[in-house]
């Protein structure tokens, strides 16, 4: 009883000891904030990757793909139908996207994925990524969404983009008319001067404007990273987004055929841009209508009865519950021959990236925990001081019959209480910080005048956080253990004081 009473009194009267645990508090708070933000980013990133890749991917080993996606889909539904909510066939291939900007053609390497929007929407939140379904922030003004979310995802232009396209087509038609007049004028002049003009051989218009007014058979969704770039406006000196490709524009896609690879190209109309929040996808990925890609690549087999069978390179599967993934993988692996198919979860596909994030997080945790360990040494030093200061009291307690272990436990309990107070305060501060992190960010932005967390760079409106109770408990427990361990040495020293030694000095 005297132990608890004395601990409580020491806790209330020794402010210097409380000062020593401020570092524990700060360490714990920092660990909680960092872990929460990292977990928030991590889970946000995972959900974005998962949204793009779907849960399970069955890939063909050959880039030529396999024929009959519908047959395979039926097969999959037979095998694992009870676990899945959707399956879609895609063709994935490397390609080059060329767009006309400032009068030049700019080629850019891309990953071209042929999809069927309807079934793709079943395996991933496609509608969440397409920009025409969301309101946009253009500099300071808000632009309302071009499409309502109830509208089916399709390869049609939104009314606004269509109007823009028609306007552009009209402009080019006018230009064409003008050119026609100029040519007529020139021909008249030529008759007069009879000298050849070397520029008369110049192609009258660029290819992309050939079929203005009507849309191309190829339709694309282009990642925002490809379609836009960020730059400083020379006039306003402010960051703004420059659009290189806008919905309604025509671009040229170059890819290669199945079988013996040979270059193939087609002109396609950009229907929409998409933003997943993963720059890897936003700046590399282009979705194309599946039939067009199959046509261009020659992935069609004509059957004897006149029907045709198309090919696919991967099947994306969405599960009801991701926990079933190992089971589903096992069944699929057993039924899809490994020499033709590669069956993976999205996590296995993105293994190195996820592993890197994990390593980063654990190294950060180790470093932060070292801070708390440093705090432990502070406690050690202050405890030695307190033991020296309390030497006489220890002598008194022993004279009154307190055992060595009793004296030791006073200081161990004191360390435990200090650790608990420090860790508790740290948990409180950390959780409050996480809870108000966006307000804090706004405040810091206001004070420093620099945006701490620019939405345009991180793709997040708010800082994502995820508090894992298990992590919080571990951090708090670790901090308390360090405080207790730091008090072991001073407590042992206190318990070994002989009463006479302790009482003699006055």
């Amino acid at each position: 009883m005297y132990k608890l009473l004395l601990c409580q009194r020491y806790l209330r009267t020794r402010y210097i000891a409380l000062a020593s645990i401020v570092s524990v508090t700060l360490g714990v708070a920092t660990m909680i904030v960092v872990n929460s933000v990292m977990a928030g980013f991590g889970s946000e990133m995972r959900s974005r990757i998962q949204g793009i890749l779907s849960d399970i991917i069955v890939e063909t080993r050959s880039m030529n793909g396999e024929f009959d996606p519908e047959g395979y889909k039926i097969r999959i539904r037979e095998l694992v139908g009870k676990y899945i909510t959707g399956v879609t066939a895609t063709v994935e291939v490397h390609a080059i996207l060329s767009y006309k900007y400032m009068g030049d053609y700019i080629p850019h390497p891309i990953n071209l994925v042929g999809i069927d929007p309807e079934s793709k929407s079943e395996v991933g939140p496609l509608i969440d990524y397409l920009q025409s379904y969301h309101r946009q922030k253009d500099e300071d003004r808000e632009v309302p969404a071009e499409r309502d979310r109830t509208e089916q995802v399709s390869w049609n232009l939104s009314p606004i983009a269509l109007a823009r396209r028609q306007e552009k087509a009209e402009y080019f038609r006018q230009m064409e008319k003008l050119r026609e007049q100029m040519r007529a004028q020139r021909e008249k002049d030529e008759v007069e001067s009879a000298t050849g003009d070397p520029f008369s051989e110049e192609a009258p218009t660029a290819e992309l404007e050939e079929t203005l007014g009507q849309m191309q058979t190829g339709r694309l969704y282009v990642g925002v990273g490809l379609a836009t770039y960020m730059g400083i406006d020379p006039e306003t000196k402010k960051q703004r987004t420059y659009e290189m490709i806008r919905p309604g524009d025509d671009v040229r896609i170059t890819t290669y055929s199945a079988g013996t690879p040979a270059p193939k190209y087609f002109v396609a109309t950009v229907v929409d841009t998409f933003k997943t929040g993963m720059s890897e996808y936003d700046s590399n990925l282009v979705y194309c209508n599946l039939e067009q890609l199959q046509d261009v690549r020659g992935m069609i087999r004509r059957n004897e009865d006149g029907t045709e069978t198309r090919a696919f390179t991967s099947l994306q599967i969405k599960l009801k519950n991701y926990k079933d993934a190992p089971k589903v993988i096992e069944i699929l692996k057993a039924n899809f021959p490994a020499e033709n198919f590669n069956v993976n979860t999205w996590e296995q596909r993105q293994g190195p990236l996820l592993a890197a994030v994990d390593v980063e997080s654990s190294i950060l945790n180790i470093l932060l925990f070292l801070i708390i360990t440093v705090a432990g040494f502070g406690i050690l030093a202050i405890f030695f001081m307190i033991v020296v200061e309390k030497t006489r009291d220890i002598g008194i307690l022993k004279a009154l019959g307190a055992s060595s272990s009793g004296v030791m436990s006073i200081f161990l309990t004191y360390g435990l209480l200090l650790g608990m107070v420090g860790a508790g305060a740290g948990v409180g501060v950390g959780l409050l910080f996480v809870y108000y992190i966006n307000q804090i960010e706004t405040f810091i932005t206001f004070v420093t005048g620099r945006e701490v967390f620019p939405e345009k760079i991180y793709y997040f409106k708010d800082i994502p956080t995820h508090v894992d109770p298990f992590t919080v408990c571990w951090v708090a427990f670790g901090a308390v253990m360090i405080a207790v361990l730091a008090s072991v040495l001073p407590a042992r020293r206190a318990s070994r004081l002989r009463p006479v030694q302790a009482l003699r000095y006055e």
Binding site: M1, Y2, L4, L5, L6, R9, Y10, T13, R392, D393, G395, I396, L397, K398, A399, L400, G401, A402, S403, S404, G406, R498, P499, V500, L503, E506
Partner: protein
């Protein structure tokens, strides 16, 4: 030092000499402190005993070893040679736990510098021995009883109006009376007082000695008091003079 050992009396032999068994006794105790490489002898074979209910005072100069002797009897320290007996049983070689227990139950200590715990109130200070004796659960269930006992003891030393004061808010005399209350609340058999009046003025000191005499008379409490003040020592039944680590004279007072 074999010479000193030869002067000691065998316990069996001693019992035949002394008619009644002493309550507490130190037999031929020697004690030396180590200061670096040198050994500084403090006690050179001291025999001392007190009967049950006796008020014994040990008088001597500073550095004569009287505090050390007191510590040896009270098991705060153990002798290099010789032994300490309680009712004929050797106690200085008992296991540490048992000695802690004896200090708590048998001996009550009063020190020159009061040695109250500064963080605790007077009441809590007085309760400390009981808190040490009982487990948390035990103490909690009996706390009313213990508090009543402590209050009664504090009333007896005349500090009933100071229960919640901290030691720093008490005068020297009050602190010493509080220390006595603390020593007595555990209902010890033997009170060991190390210069209890050493830091007090004559009048306050007299009050403390009177209190101790009363306790000795009414409770049959065995008291061993160390002092360097002859007039204070004269209050005891018997005075032993300690000089340079040896017993010098014995005066029978009563």
């Amino acid at each position: 030092m074999p010479a000193t050992i030869s002067t000691s009396v065998q316990p069996e032999l001693r019992e035949s000499i002394v008619m009644t068994e002493p309550h507490v006794a130190a037999l031929a105790v020697q004690k030396a402190y180590r200061k670096g490489e040198h050994s500084v002898p403090v006690l050179h074979g001291v025999d001392i005993s007190a009967q049950k209910g006796e008020f014994l005072s040990i008088i001597g100069q500073s550095g004569s070893g009287k505090s050390t002797l007191m510590h040896l009897i009270g098991l705060l320290d153990s002798p290099d040679v010789g032994e300490v007996q309680l009712e004929g049983q050797r106690i200085d070689d008992l296991p540490v736990r048992t000695r802690d227990e004896l200090r708590n139950r048998v001996f009550g200590f009063v020190f020159q510098f009061y040695h109250l715990l500064p963080e605790l109130s007077l009441m809590e200070n007085v309760l400390t021995p009981l808190m040490i004796r009982h487990s948390i659960w035990n103490y909690w269930t009996h706390r009313r009883e213990f508090q009543d006992r402590a209050k009664e003891m504090i009333d007896r030393v005349g500090l009933g109006h100071r229960l919640t004061h901290r030691p720093s808010e008490l005068s020297g005399g009050e602190m010493q009376r509080a220390a006595i209350a603390r020593a007595l609340v555990a209902q010890p058999q033997i009170l060991l007082a190390d210069e209890p009046t050493g830091n007090l003025d004559a009048k306050t000191g007299r009050g403390i000695i009177d209190l101790m005499s009363r306790l000795n008379e009414h409770e049959q409490l065995t008291i061993i008091m160390v002092t360097h003040d002859k007039s204070i020592a004269a209050e005891a039944h018997r005075t032993v003079r300690l000089c340079e680590g040896r017993i010098e004279t014995l005066t029978e007072d009563a």
